[in-house]
Amino acid sequence: MVELTGLPAVEAKNVTKTFGAGPDAVVALDNVSVTIQQNEFFTLLGPSGCGKTTLLRLIAGFELPTAGSILLEGQEVAHLPPFKRMVNTVFQSYALFPHLTVAENIGFGLKMLGRRRADRDAQIEKMLKLVKMEPMRNRKVHQLSGGQQQRVALARALAPHPKVLLLDEPLSALDLKLRKEMQIELKRLQHETGITFIFVTHDQEEALTMSDRIAVMSHGKILQIGTANEIYEHPVDRFVADFIGETNFIEAEVMQRIGNRGQIRLPSGIALARELDPIAPVGGKVTLAIRPERIDLVKPGADCQLAGKVENIVYFGTDTHFHIDLDTGGDVTVRVQNRRGFQEVLKQGDAVGLRIAPEAMQVLKD
């Protein structure tokens, strides 16, 4: 993990972005505020159309905010054109200049900044080495493979040593194996250069494995900001829980409450003590999110929180997924690791008990 200085690199304050006007207007960002720290690998995660790319383009300067302000290292930049911001972008399409060589592409930003030729050449060599593309320096862009173009795009954006590097789904065009390689590569580059990375993706696995912090976005709003662990283990609402990994949702009834603590009852009648959102009234319902790997399948008995029947068994190699029809209605998925190989202990139609640790049941806000 990169050591964070705690100083803000980018701050978005109450940013709203509307496209079009009148009844056709589309709100791409709705009063978004976020602070990204220096040296951080920050990911904007969400489905397409959630506003993550718009936020990135606002930071880059390709769009002007309808309202709100954007600060780069404490300086207001919302009114500055892109070429006056020390921010570079790695585009989803790479957008490499086809009329220039690899080296000329990498040196373009430095040339535009008016750096001297010797400095430029030295920096180009450094960048070529950083992305392991030295033998390709005189190639044209169309002579490169997708993965190589990706590396050149990275080198080109890193060469001027920007304060912030923006990455707009840069790995989406690569095949799975290359994508995994580039994920590690990106982490290495961020570590070696010490530049703040803001990474946009719709791939939750990519976000979880690479980021220092993640902002989950939906419909122009940021729903939750936190480390991968926080977001996975403590999702604030149903959307976040569902978007990040697989989740089972179970409804529970609020029985009584004292302050922000209270007692809830599972459909099976089992009572639990939980921290509760102040808006949940006694007698009302709350939703519990439970990760499939946090449930143990045992023999039905009194120590089980829930009980049901095995409806379906799917073998995945590393683990096996059991789809359980609950006796109280609804269904859950349980993931069991095949640590001793696949053992056909349970069969379809078998009655099973579900044991869930209380801390594995996350009360959602919704």
């Binding site: 054109p81 006056k84 570079n88 399409s93 009329h99 373009f108 954006a157």
Partner: protein
């Protein structure tokens, strides 16, 4: 089953089948005839193009080449006796008294002037056509076709009519001068008609669409994400224009310049009407040899010299521009 098949004697199990060698040669013959057929149909398919090129391109050119090496008949036409007189008289004039050949740059001057006019027209079209094409290419897709239509509307009327219309606008008592005098900007009419400026103005007006359309085709295909990438990498607007947009629209620039330069060099109607015959261009000169000049071989020679000049110019132009592209790409 047909009756012949029924009547045919049963070959029986012992009857010898065709030997392998005969089947092989039969197959070869079949494939050979198939190849022949393919070759014939290829020729047939390309025949219309070949006939057109021969009748309208190669034959007239051969006639011009032959005529240029013949003697002029006194009342037009040619005398069938070989001569290089036409080429000699392009550069030299026979002194009336001494019958000596004296170097005369008259024709060369007309060629040079035509060249300068054509280059000027091309540059003017490029400088004004590029922003026009850029504007068109950056409109929403639905609007673009309307702009293309507007650019092509002048083609619907005859060039002669349009040139005469320009004449009426720019002459001393014309629309332009009347407006300027009416607005008290000037008190004496500005003489535009029958000047070099009038010729270049007319050529510019006639050939502008030939510049705008290829530029538009090139710019419309331009990936504007590259422009964004340029801004992102600290290139200001002029730098993005000169380092990204112009290099990437080079094919359109080359095509547009050729489409304007070549016809402008040989233009006939425009310099005749707007230059008033006082400021000759190559087109008028050649037409004169076939008309009142009654010197067909000289006209043919002048036409061939023009063609060679254009080919040489093209050669250097294309080599220079593609060379630049290569250099730009390293």
């Amino acid at each position: 089953m047909t009756t012949t098949e029924l009547a045919a004697p049963d070959p029986g199990p012992a009857a010898p089948g065709p030997t392998p060698s005969t089947t092989l040669s039969a197959a070869q013959a079949a494939s050979a005839s198939r190849e022949d057929k393919a070759r014939i149909s290829r020729w047939l398919l390309s025949a219309p193009a070949l006939v057109t090129i021969t009748i309208f391109g190669i034959l007239p050119l051969i006639i011009i080449v032959i005529y240029s090496f013949l003697k002029a008949a006194p009342y037009g036409g040619v005398v069938w006796s070989p001569s290089i007189e036409a080429y000699v008289s392009f550069l030299f004039q026979q002194d009336i008294f001494t019958e000596e050949l004296v170097f005369s740059p008259d024709f060369l001057q007309i060629y040079l002037r035509s060249f300068i006019f054509a280059v000027g027209t091309t540059l003017l079209c490029l400088v004004l056509g590029f922003p026009t094409a850029y504007f068109m290419a950056t409109r929403p897709p639905r609007q673009r076709n309307w702009w293309v239509l507007l650019i092509t509307i002048p083609f619907w009327s005859n060039l002669l009519v349009r040139t005469l219309a320009i004449m009426f606008i720019i002459r001393d008592e014309g629309l332009l001068n009347n407006i300027l005098i009416g607005l008290k900007i000037i008190d004496q009419p500005i003489t535009i008609l029958y000047t070099d400026f009038a010729i270049v103005l007319g050529l510019f007006y006639s050939f502008l669409p030939f510049m705008v359309l290829p530029l538009y085709a090139s710019l419309e295909k331009l990936d504007f994400r590259l422009v964004e990438a340029g801004y992102d990498l600290y290139a200001s607007r002029p730098k993005v224009l000169f380092r990204i947009i112009i290099p990437l629209s080079k094919p359109g620039i080359i095509a547009g310049c050729l489409l304007v330069f070549i016809p402008a060099l040989g233009a006939y109607v425009t310099p005749l009407i707007l230059g008033g015959g006082r400021h000759m261009m190559i087109g008028d000169l050649i037409a004169q040899q076939f008309g009142s000049g009654r010197n067909w071989p000289l006209g043919a020679a002048q036409a061939l010299i023009l063609m060679s000049a254009v080919l040489v110019a093209l050669f250097f132009y294309v080599r220079a521009t593609t060379g630049k592209v290569k250099h730009g790409q390293g």
